[in-house]
């Protein structure tokens, strides 16, 4: 179906990434947002608070991020599309409710505009050090989907994708921005509502008497009903059966966790998304995401000027990770170079996926500013030399 025009600000704009992300969420049909102020993400909810009254949306600034991250789930079970927005410390507080959304299969979107950490860290400066937390931060086994935009235009586009993926797979979807992307201002083109594809909730067509809220379809995803429609839903964070009833034994646990994990793992090929440039014949491939992908592009240029055949792979969907493609490339290239604004997170995935078939070089950065492109170039050149 197409986007509801009331939320689509069609036209050419000059927006920062945070405002663009907000516009993407509105275009995707988000009509409930709960947040708590935290730098450098706050502009997203500030814009939501200003824009929602004109389209029937409800924004509430909750008392903390714990509350915000579960208020949105209440709103989803009432039938709305909903999001929350945060950064570093707030993201840590939300972890329990990422797990709740995972086990109750509540489609919702979390924006994390990453800053330097740990703890209060660098509130106003960028980081990319929550990438593993995004994947593993809540206790227990579960899967999420995470995306990472590199520009304000992509913040808009990816916000829409995030809501669509959440509805399709009934998982929490995390938009892993960073302070640079959130605060950089560029041209953003918002298309007409009728050209924006929006995924509707998987509403059940069954009558209440025939409906089991956690009975999966062929893609392992159950159809949904909302409160107030006579379905007498039973939604619990306890391990549950297809009726939603708690069942405290290993068999029920195995059945549920197996499905929650496999609905994403078995669909990895459908969900993964990455962009490649100059991969053909490359000796070294730079793997990066978010703002670092733009810095890495300059680093690759500098290395190419020194004669290195270097290609680039940019992760758009970060989780699930495109391990199949990394393994394919691993047997063709002499090294992967992985710059990221952390001390080595996604590089661990690259190493895991490469299965020792090639060198994997970490180019860490503690955050606070982006890499110096020359540092990335030097790492590429060194990796090429070592391999030849």
């Amino acid at each position: 179906m197409h986007a509801d025009p009331s939320g689509v600000l069609t036209g050419k704009h000059y927006l920062d990434g945070n405002h663009a992300a907000c516009e993407g969420a509105l275009a995707a049909g988000c009509r409930f947002a709960a947040g708590y102020p935290i730098t450098p993400s706050t502009e997203i909810v500030e814009r939501v608070a200003a824009r929602f009254p004109f389209m029937g949306g409800t924004f509430i600034q909750m008392e903390d991020e714990i509350a915000a991250s579960i208020a949105i789930q209440g709103a989803v079970w009432a039938g709305k599309k909903a999001m929350t927005v945060t950064s570093g410390p707030g993201f840590s507080l939300m972890m329990e409710h990422i797990g709740l959304a995972a086990i109750t299969e509540t489609p919702c979107v979390f924006f994390n505009v990453q800053r330097g950490g740990p703890s209060t860290g660098l509130p106003t400066l960028p980081g990319q050090a929550d990438m593993m937390q995004a994947r593993w931060g809540s206790h227990g086994d579960y899967e999420i989907i995470a995306l990472s935009p590199q520009s304000p235009q992509e913040c808009f586009n990816i916000a829409i994708d995030a809501f669509n993926l959440a509805e399709q797979w009934r998982v929490p979807v995390l938009v892993m921005m960073d302070e640079c992307v959130g605060h950089m201002t560029e041209r953003v083109i918002i298309p007409k509502a009728e050209t924006i594809e929006v995924t509707e909730r998987r509403w059940t067509k069954k009558k209440p008497s025939d409906y089991k809220p956690f009975e999966p379809g062929p893609d392992l995803v159950p159809d949904m009903a909302k409160a107030g429609d006579g379905y007498h839903l039973f939604v619990t964070g306890l391990t549950h059966d297809e009726r939603g009833y708690p069942v405290m034994n290993w068999q029920a646990q195995e059945k549920l966790v197996h499905r929650l994990v496999n609905k994403i793992r078995l669909a990895t090929d459908k969900i993964v998304r990455f962009e490649e440039e100059d991969i053909e014949g490359a000796d070294v491939v730079v793997v990066s995401y978010g703002i670092t992908a733009r810095v890495a592009r300059r680093g690759a240029e500098l290395a190419r000027q020194k004669g290195v055949k270097v290609g680039r792979l940019r992760l758009v969907v970060v989780w699930p990770f495109p391990e199949k493609r990394i393994l394919e490339l691993a047997s063709k290239v002499q090294a992967f170079v992985v710059p990221e604004m952390n001390y080595g997170q996604m590089v661990l995935e690259v190493e895991r996926a490469a299965k020792g078939k090639t060198n994997v070089v970490c180019v860490p950065h503690g955050g606070g500013e982006v890499h110096d492109p020359q540092v990335i170039a030097d790492a590429i050149i060194r990796a090429a030399k070592r391999s030849s």
């Binding site: 029937g56 579960i70 208020a71 709103a75 009432a78 709305k80 329990e96 409160a227 379905y231 619990t236």
Partner: protein, 299 residues
């Protein structure tokens, strides 16, 4: 027993989940029976009724009631209920949980939902103890009762929940014990017919973990205590409602007032600021004018 006559509360219970996990003599089941009776006696549209619980013994209530049931995380049912209610004001949203869940780990959400006057009914079963985890001290535990985590006796100041709710702006506040089943059911019925943040505290026994450890007998002894030591004082100053160890328990309806709910206040503000450009958000059944009969207590 007469097999042909069905208990009138049965349609509101998930009978396929019985028996419940609650111990013999526990007060939670009694409170649920009162709640279901209140439903039968009210005109509330049960299709639009949603029950939200947190974690703990009382947190299991949502799962035994046959409405839209949400069993959320520890301490957070009010925050979940806030989203549920604001996103669909047509729903009657009831939060049903224990004092550990609502007032200790969830205290922040309790005070802010009351301050905002979120249109929800909060039912708090207060049994002075963490039951599910095995008898630990709770924010209402009185001195000198002992608990697994206060083996030499509790020494902290207990929370006076009615006073807390009052000071945060709750529009309806009542307290009953599980001995007062008729009064409690009537109080619940009354609360269904009102709008805004409504709070009912239910003093309930935990024979297994609170009473046994403190040599207070069984469930029946608790009923005797409630019967002998409860005093009805409607309209009592909430400041005076402190409960000490085996002390007198003041029960009744203490607060019944009106002020704009969150959504009413939001609509008023946006209309003032934005004029015709703002389409008022629909407020749901509890906000209908008084002239229309709405879940009025029939008897």
């Amino acid at each position: 027993m007469n097999d042909k006559q069905e208990n009138p509360v049965n349609p509101y219970l998930r009978l396929d989940r019985m028996p419940s996990i609650w111990c013999p003599g526990c007060g939670i089941g009694t409170s649920v029976n009162c709640f279901a009776r209140a439903i039968t006696q009210s005109k509330i549209d049960v299709k639009k009724l949603a029950i939200v619980s947190g974690i703990g013994c009382t947190g299991r209530v949502s799962g035994y009631l046959n409405f839209d049931s949400f069993h959320t995380t520890h301490g957070r049912p009010i925050a979940f209920a806030t989203g549920l209610k604001l996103a669909n004001p047509e729903l009657h949203v009831v939060v049903y949980s224990g004092e550990g869940d609502l007032i200790a780990i969830g205290g922040n959400h309790f005070i802010h939902a009351a301050r905002r006057n979120i249109d929800i009914l909060v039912v708090c079963v207060n049994n002075f103890v963490y039951g599910m985890t095995g008898g630990q001290v709770s924010p209402t535990s009185p001195e000198p009762a002992t608990f697994t985590t206060a083996p030499y006796g509790q020494f902290e100041e207990p929370f006076n929940l009615a006073y807390l709710a009052d000071s945060c702006g709750a529009v309806y506040i009542a307290r009953w014990t599980t001995f007062h089943v008729r009064q409690l059911a009537k109080s619940m019925r009354d609360a269904f017919g009102k709008k805004g943040f409504r709070f009912i505290e239910i003093i309930a026994p935990c024979p297994t973990l609170y009473q046994r450890r403190n040599r207070l007998g069984d469930g029946l002894d608790a009923m005797r205590y409630y019967k002998e030591k409860s005093v009805v004082k409607n309209g009592a100053e909430t400041k005076s409602l402190r409960i000490d160890f085996q002390s007198e328990i003041t029960v009744g309806t203490f607060v019944d007032r009106e002020r704009p709910t969150f959504l009413e206040a939001m609509n008023n503000r946006f209309q003032k600021a934005l004029g015709d450009k703002y389409t008022p958000y629909p407020l749901g059944p509890s906000h209908q004018p008084k002239s229309q009969p709405q879940a009025q207590a029939s008897a």
